[in-house]
């Protein structure tokens, strides 16, 4: 398997002329670049072009429909709200959890990491399906809640926003924990001790030393979870369905059912713009955060 990692004579040891080395670098990077242009850049340009055309030629009607009708504004808001709620809950759970995992040693750490990797490796469809079983009115969660007397009779959970948010946090939480964990694991524990020696209380040391140092991980986690959940498709489809239309479900419907590819393309461009904005903003914050 690792034979494929063989870089061939990419790094000649006999110090060739810089020219030759640059040509080699171009040569070995070229196939990946070609794939990127042919299967990523060009299709996106084509999509953008499709979103701006109809039978008569150039038009903005698809965008006008999307951004000018309250129904579709609601759809956009649904996508944003799903992403916002998911990101905030994931951050609230994931931030402290990352610290404990980084402090853990031996099999405890392996077990905790496995609890992140295993769900990550399992199918999104299977996990969402499991939540439909868990959250049914005769499902396990209701049975347990009634059994221990928290509620008197089963409450309706499936096909509600609660189900949507629970499932979404469940699926995207590892993407919050892992980047924060990576930062915290590299972090020198003596820093907080030093802060304590200099008279800072634990809370002050945390706010002034720990939080700024972990900010790059937090920004990366927030960007990942937000951009993944804003475009989630399987989770809303299985856990809430028609009553919570999102940009993703609208795009799928436009292509697979309604045969309105141009309108779907416009919705796709809007979704892409949101994802790009989040990534660009987080890159920028990460850069200024790194300087501070």
């Amino acid at each position: 398997m690792s034979d494929r990692a063989l870089p061939a004579p990419a790094t000649p040891a006999m110090k060739p002329a810089p020219d030759r080395e640059r040509r080699l670098a171009l040569l070995i990077a070229a196939p990946a670049v070609l794939v990127l242009v042919g299967l990523f850049a060009l299709p996106l340009v084509k999509l953008l072009a499709a979103s701006l055309t109809d039978a008569t030629g150039l038009t903005l009607t698809h965008y006008a429909k999307l951004l000018g009708t309250s129904y579709y504004l609601g759809v956009i808001w649904n996508s944003l709200r799903l992403a916002l709620v998911t990101t905030l809950i994931a951050l609230a759970i994931g931030y402290p959890a990352a610290f404990a995992i980084a402090r853990a040693r031996g099999w405890v750490r392996s077990a905790l990491l496995a609890s992140l990797f295993l769900p990550l490796a399992a199918s999104v469809i299977v996990k969402a399906f499991a939540w439909t079983i868990l959250l049914r009115s005769d499902g396990l969660v209701n049975t347990v809640l009634v059994g221990i007397g928290i509620i008197d009779e089963p409450i309706r959970m499936i096909f509600t926003e609660t189900a949507l948010f629970v499932g979404s946090v469940n699926i995207f939480l590892p993407f919050m924990i892992l980047p924060i964990y990576t930062v915290v694991a590299q972090f020198d524990g003596r820093l907080t001790e030093a802060a304590a020696t200099l008279g800072a209380g634990p809370l002050e040391a945390f706010v002034k030393v720990v939080v700024p140092l972990t900010l790059p991980g937090v920004i990366a986690g927030v960007a990942l979870v937000f951009s993944l959940s804003v475009s989630a498709y399987v989770v809303p489809t299985l856990l809430i369905g028609e009553r919570y239309p999102t940009l993703s479900t609208t795009i799928a419907k436009a292509y697979l059912l309604a045969r309105q590819p141009e309108f779907g393309a416009a919705a796709g461009v809007v979704l892409l713009a949101i994802a790009i904005a989040v990534v660009a903003l987080s890159t920028r914050l990460g850069r200024t955060g790194g300087k501070a």
């Binding site: 494929r4 196939p31 999509l47 990576t182 292509y255 790009i276």
Partner: protein
């Protein structure tokens, strides 16, 4: 106990509750699926009396599941293989820094990861139609190449950024041939990143729904598409049984990766 010590203790307690709570929460759906696969009845009544293996026996008789599983495995294996070759070569070119704009190239190579899958799916659908590509299998393979390539690029660029290329020259000075130096120095140093990249891109391709849904036809269906269709039409524990088997295969893969590389290192390179 003094105030500050108490605050510190509370912080640690909070961190541990969050970690254990998160672990339980993350594993809950997997446990439910595994439990449901042994359900004696077609509805998932948990808890139940008397485990049954009937759903496992039914997997083989499910309409169209074997072709879907085999298609998904093939697409994931081929696209991961090609992505590993192309991505690793590009990552080496980028890491050596002899390319103009190598930093930008690295960012661009990773960018499809941040791209909503559905948008990539519809973009490819229209593009393939426009260029007249009418073979579902080829369309799927090409699409999955753009899904897997960013995983390989990201992981290999991260892995290579910690690799010291002068080590190869050092090995040459000590009498190694060039291929010998690469095999003895570079391959072992990069193997963890390579393995992580391969594992993650295989799983990303194997589980992909949002891109593939636009590129399949009635005869060419990948496993996730077949599974979602099944859930929406007539869910019964057969799907749970199939998922449990896939889950067991994944656990074996993860244990093997942990032995070979260590989950801790994978958490580093995977990110």
């Amino acid at each position: 106990m003094t105030g500050p010590a108490l605050t510190a203790r509370l912080g640690i307690l909070l961190a541990w509750s969050a970690a254990l709570g998160a672990a339980a929460f993350l594993l809950a759906p997997l446990v439910v699926i595994a439990a449901a696969s042994f359900s004696p009845t077609p509805v998932f009544d948990l808890p139940f009396d008397g485990a049954s293996l009937r759903w496992y026996a039914r997997i083989g008789r499910l309409d169209g599941f074997w072709p879907a599983l085999s298609l998904s495995l093939q697409v994931a294996a081929v696209s991961t293989g090609i992505a590993l070759v192309l991505g690793t070569l590009a990552a080496i070119a980028i890491a050596r820094g002899r390319l103009p704009f190598s930093g930008t190239l690295g960012t661009v190579l990773v960018s499809p990861l941040m791209m909503p899958g559905l948008v990539l799916g519809i973009a490819l659908l229209q593009y393939f139609r426009a260029i007249g590509l009418d073979l579902p299998l080829a369309a799927l393979l090409l699409a999955h190449l753009i899904i897997t390539l960013p995983y390989v690029a990201r992981t290999m660029i991260a892995g290579l950024s910690r690799f010291d290329f002068t080590l190869i020259e050092a090995a040459r000075t000590l009498g190694c041939t060039f291929p010998g130096a690469v095999v003895k120095v570079m391959v072992p140093a990069l193997a963890p990143a390579f393995l992580t990249a391969g594992l993650f891109s295989f799983l990303a391709s194997f589980d992909n729904y949002p891109v593939s849904i636009f590129l399949t036809d009635v005869r060419t269906k990948t496993l996730p598409i077949k599974m979602l269709q099944y859930i929406e039409e007539a869910p019964d524990p057969t799907l749970a049984a199939l998922s449990t088997l896939i889950l067991i295969a994944t656990v074996i893969l993860l244990i093997a990766s942990d032995r070979l590389v260590g989950l801790h290192r994978m958490a580093g390179t995977g990110q």
